[in-house]
């Protein structure tokens, strides 16, 4: 298992976009731009029609992608078409995993999904509505195909639950910075430090997400102890704006790349600050 590796040397920048938003071709360019901007792992959304954990920004991405014809099969083709070197994580909802039929083996369900994902080059999964308790079948498939199953720790996750999740997590732990749904915010949640403290002694990297919007946010979160920052809505906002205002693809690519750079730089600055603090 290997996603830990990208957090080893410096804080990781983990961007999220929905595959195929707003179209297959544009989306390929956008993902590649994120890598150029400094992404260390990319969470690539496979859109589900009922995104119950997403705020309006990512709901918009899901709708655009589905309307442009995204399906699980096209998603895997998309992954194969992508020209990026960093690891890819598939972020989705469980029904798509559960329903999946492997086009060659005819097998259905989590193992078929994990196999096809592995074939396409996916190294891990975040399945938003799959808590550790229900994750058995996918967990086993991940083990078989050498993939990581990332879990989310919410601000409400405490005590027993925390212990149980610690057992199951691999790759990195997704620390949800605040209660609620995805969406860029103008502040850093006060809950972040407390959440990080609860997983401080876990031996997987801690990536913090939910609401991070600027390099400054990223810096503060890494300074607070995160090993990485996960940023979705702030990037999807750029895609959405580009789409709605009819901006040239190249311009959107440019803006995504520079936003990615800002966030990655913020994370690095946070690491320096922490090193300074640690060193003082």
């Amino acid at each position: 298992m290997g996603l830990e590796r990208v957090f080893a040397d410096e804080p990781a920048f983990v961007p999220y976009v929905a595959a195929g938003d707003p179209s297959y071709e544009e989306s390929l360019e956008y993902v590649e731009a994120l890598e150029r901007g400094g992404a260390d792992v990319i969470e690539l959304g496979l859109p589900f029609s009922e995104p119950i954990a997403e705020g309006s920004t990512i709901q918009g991405a899901v709708v655009r992608s589905l309307e442009a014809g995204m399906t699980p099969e096209r998603y895997f083709a998309f992954v194969e078409d992508l020209d990026v070197g960093v690891p890819l994580v598939c972020m989705t909802y469980y029904n798509l995993v559960y329903q999946y039929t492997h086009p060659e083996t005819g097998e259905t369900g989590p193992r078929a999904f994990a196999r096809r994902a592995a074939e396409a080059g996916i190294e891990g999964f975040v399945v938003v509505d799959l808590p550790a308790e229900e994750a058995g079948p996918l967990r086993e498939a991940c083990d078989e195909f050498g993939q990581d199953l990332v879990f989310i720790i919410a601000p409400t996750t405490r005590g027993d639950r925390l212990d149980r999740m610690r057992e199951h997590v691999s790759g990195y732990v997704y620390v949800q910075a605040r209660l609620g749904v995805t969406g860029a915010r103008d502040d850093v949640s006060g809950q972040t430090e407390a959440s990080l403290a609860r997983v401080a002694d876990w031996d997987v990297p801690k990536a913090v997400g939910f609401g991070i919007k600027t390099g400054d946010h990223a810096e503060r979160i890494v300074a607070a102890g995160a090993d990485g920052v996960i940023v979705g809505s702030a990037l999807v906002d750029i895609v959405a704006e580009g789409h709605e205002e009819g901006q040239p693809t190249a311009e959107v690519v440019q803006r995504l790349e520079s936003k990615a750079r800002e966030l990655k730089q913020g994370a690095l600055a946070g690491a320096r600050a922490r090193a300074g603090v640690d060193g003082s």
């Binding site: 954990a53 029904n95 989310i152 601000p155 409400t156």
Partner: protein, 417 residues
């Protein structure tokens, strides 16, 4: 005591992690208050169901239908429950439970508005702030219910995503809950969602069959041969069936909305029906594994029914299980038959049923000769909320039993209500 999270393969808890602690807390409260009657919770629930809700409700011998079908037909009159549908059984139970749990706020989704109005009434009764999520389309279609919720002091928040109906409203309510879970309880409207909801909602609704079982023995001198209930999410259904599940000789039929057709348009992602039990495939939606209307990739279909309250792509996991087990018959009735049944019951018995309920009577019309000598049908709600829809949909069709509504047109104000 620890309850099973699943019914066979169905059920479970497929929710974002942020909700899991609340669901565990709720499970604990469910087991203590509902199952163990801690602090006399269930006693208070039954007392309020009686004083505020109007229970027990009659099991009425239906004279005209019995004659028409040459079968003893009994109507369980949930339409007489405060608010006009069985929904209050659940809403009152959950709002009361939220109070016992020390929650400070209630949220709920609603489609047709019946669960929303029931929740708003229960929240007003128990003095809890309440916010109801409702699809924008449904708000337009069900204005009287919006007004009722607001009148009871609830907030009504329009949901603009997707088609703006029940599915989207549930998703949006789950989003609110993910944010406010520490002090807010989500009163889900049917036997759906993650454990413990399907079990808990069933237990609150089981008061229906608890009463029916006693009443039918008193009136008919024996258990019924068949029990019919419509099924959207399936809460009136499980409520009516629950205390008969172990009586193997009692046939149980869950009547779904056949809509305009059982065929699906995979391309458009639309199923022109809501027959998830009859035609759906196993999958995971809104927290539970159950039967769903979905395309081959697992994307959820837009369902359709002339009755907004049946218009949902999922169904309660326990029902899915009982159907697989062969204990419950999954059947369905199309829009036309439901409309005819609506008019027939109104004219023959003087009971105007909800369009949801009318599906059960459509099935009775078609299959009365296979159901045995004593049949109980649950009248899950009254039809006042459906008048506008029935008027429109009846005018589009050439139904045998529809009344002439020209007096409404001739006295001005157009054809509407």
């Amino acid at each position: 005591m620890s309850t099973d999270k699943t019914f066979g393969d169905y059920g479970g808890q497929y929710v974002p992690e942020s909700l899991m602690p609340a669901i565990e807390e709720l499970t604990d409260a469910y087991e203590r208050y509902v199952l163990d009657n801690e602090d006399g919770f269930m006693d208070e629930f039954y007392r309020r169901l009686a004083d505020f809700g109007g229970r027990p409700l009659p099991l009425q011998y239906a004279e005209s239908l019995s004659e028409r079908y040459d079968t003893d037909v009994y109507l369980k009159r949930e339409d007489l429950l405060h608010g006009g549908a069985h929904k209050l059984n659940n809403a009152l139970g959950q709002v009361l439970l939220a109070k016992y749990m020390g929650k400070e706020r209630i949220i709920a989704e609603t489609g047709a508005g019946q669960h929303g109005t029931a929740t708003a009434m229960a929240a007003a009764h128990l003095d809890m702030p309440c916010e109801i999520y409702m699809g924008e389309t449904d708000i337009r279609r069900q204005r009287p219910n919006v007004f009722r919720m607001k009148t009871n002091g609830s907030e009504v928040t329009p949901v603009t995503t997707g088609r703006g109906t029940l599915k989207e409203a549930i998703s949006e309510t789950m989003r609110d809950w993910a944010t406010t879970v520490e002090h807010t309880h989500y009163v889900i409207g049917s036997v759906v969602g993650p454990h413990p909801f399907p079990r808990m909602v069933r237990d609150f609704q089981a008061v229906i069959s608890e009463e029916v079982r006693e009443q039918v023995q008193e009136k008919a001198g024996r258990l019924p041969d068949a029990v019919l209930a419509c099924a959207g999410g399936g809460s009136n259904t499980m409520g009516t069936f629950h205390h008969f599940v172990d009586d193997e000789d009692v046939g149980l039929s869950a009547v779904e909305a056949g809509g305009s057709s059982l065929a699906v348009d995979e391309e458009a992602g639309v199923a022109p029906n809501s027959a998830s039990l009859s035609t759906g495939e196993e999958g995971v939606l809104h927290g539970a594994r159950t039967k769903l209307l979905q395309d081959s990739h697992g994307q959820i279909m837009e369902s359709h029914s002339v009755s907004a309250g049946l218009d949902y792509a999922g169904v309660g996991p326990e029902l899915a299980h009982l159907v697989d087990e062969g204990r419950v018959d999954a059947v369905n009735v199309d829009d036309d038959s439901a409309l005819e049944a609506f008019h027939r019951l109104s004219q023959d018995e003087g009971v105007i049923p909800a369009l949801e309920t009318a599906h059960a009577f459509g099935y009775l019309e078609q299959h009365h000769d296979e159901l045995g000598d004593v049949v109980v049908v649950n009248v899950s709600g009254r039809g006042d909320k459906d008048l506008e829809t029935v008027l429109e949909e009846t005018e589009k069709r050439d139904l045998d039993v529809a009344p002439d509504m020209s007096v409404l047109r001739e006295t001005g104000g157009g054809g509407g209500i």
